[in-house]
């Protein structure tokens, strides 16, 4: 649907320009559709809800960390499609399942079906991502992600300056993305 592409691209452009609200709106809008698309692919047979959620998170991390590779003058969907497919292929390869991955991602833009909500994960599944980073980076990611603190609050809590919190957060997220990619 043209409308969804335009809306998402608009939010992404605003996000790249520093509009955190629009950026959050984009990521939140994207997530349920990513779930649906990944679940809808034939390659997903045999993957559980937690596996799908792993790929969703890896995709969101890649979208975030590589957002500068999207050209703002171009449509967002082909870029997104390439990233989702890449992450699904990576994930299946880690599981020892190679081959072609067909994702019904064009349907993602067309569909009227209700996108899927976040599945109920076990506490182990929820906790494992944080275990991928260590030390200060883990404390910072935990404070911001799990406890919902702002960077300023996190800085005060951990007696760091705000710049150091930002750096630790960025490095922590990059480390999580790398660990998710190379684990197993």
């Amino acid at each position: 649907m043209k409308k969804r592409e335009n809306e998402w691209a608009e939010w992404m452009r605003a996000g790249l320009a520093g509009d955190a609200t629009a950026y959050k709106r984009l990521l939140e809008a994207l997530t349920p559709y990513l779930r649906m698309v990944l679940r809808g692919s034939s390659a997903a047979s045999g993957l559980g809800a937690a596996d799908i959620e792993d790929v969703v998170q890896e995709t969101l991390l890649a979208v975030h960390l590589k957002r500068q590779t999207w050209k703002t003058s171009e449509p967002l969907t082909p870029w997104l499609r390439a990233i989702v497919r890449n992450k699904m292929v990576d994930f299946l390869r880690k599981r020892g399942r190679g081959g072609q991955v067909q994702l019904p991602i064009d349907d993602m833009l067309e569909t009227l079906a209700a996108p899927e909500a976040e599945p109920q994960l076990t506490p182990e599944d929820v906790g494992k991502t944080l275990k991928l980073v260590n030390g200060r980076q883990r404390e910072v990611v935990r404070a911001i992600a799990v406890e919902g603190l702002s960077t300023a609050e996190t800085a005060a809590r951990l007696s760091m300056n705000e710049g150091a919190v930002r750096v630790a957060l960025h490095r922590g997220l990059t480390a999580i993305a790398t660990a998710l990619r190379t684990e197993d």
């Binding site: 590779t69 930002r166 997220l173 990619r181």
Partner: protein
């Protein structure tokens, strides 16, 4: 962590935006060129008859065909480093330099007597060529690989190959400034062999270092 929690963390990380791959490559290019030209000037110098050589089609062709390879490699590399970018045309363009070289070989075969084909093919500096083209290309290849870490190539091997074509195109052009073997027959064997070595390296390095 839950996905909504991850999103909060991603949104909070909005301050740090990596430089685009275009800017990273633009920074890598002069560094690679500078080091290679320094290698040339300090190591071997220009060929002594370069002023005369510039008037001959064979010497000029060496520069043209290597620079076409470099530019087409750069084009493919930029396309290959962005997810979802249209890549088919860039892939085709890479064949421009090999096709041109093929045509030049045909011209050469028809314009020099068959008895001297072997002489032109073997040339005088084949080993030099095999060693120095990779040497002149390596600095740029390394610089480009570092720059490409800013990209997101869905096929890291292809991005590595494209980077090696760009780097070896420039490296071979620089090498050509001191190489006295001008025949397309020499190029078709030794330049191609040297560039092939780099392509294999580029593919391996891409697969190893350009995952994201």
């Amino acid at each position: 962590m839950r996905t909504d929690q991850l999103i909060d963390a991603l949104v909070a990380d909005s301050s740090t935006l990596q430089a685009g791959v275009g800017r990273a490559v633009a920074a890598a290019l002069p560094v690679g060129l500078f080091i290679s030209v320094a290698f040339l000037l300090i190591g071997t110098g220009l060929r002594p008859d370069i002023a005369d050589a510039l008037g001959t089609w064979r010497f000029n062709f060496k520069l043209v065909v290597t620079l076409i390879l470099a530019v087409s490699g750069a084009f493919l590399m930029m396309r290959a480093s962005r997810p979802g970018a249209e890549i088919a045309a860039a892939r085709m363009l890479v064949f421009a330099a090999p096709i041109l070289l093929g045509l030049a070989v045909i011209v050469e075969l028809t314009s020099v007597p068959a008895g001297s084909w072997a002489h032109y093919t073997i040339g005088t500096n084949a080993l030099h060529c095999l060693l120095l083209i990779p040497t002149f290309s390596a600095p740029m290849l390394v610089a480009l690989m570092i720059a490409l870490r800013h990209g997101a190539p869905t096929s890291p091997g292809l991005a590595g190959i494209a980077a090696s074509l760009m780097a070896s195109g420039f490296g071979a052009a620089i090498y050509a400034l001191q190489c006295t073997d001008d025949s397309p027959l020499f190029l078709a064997v030794w330049y191609v062999a040297a560039i092939s070595i780099l392509v294999v390296c580029g593919r391996t390095a891409g697969r190893r270092f350009l995952n994201w």
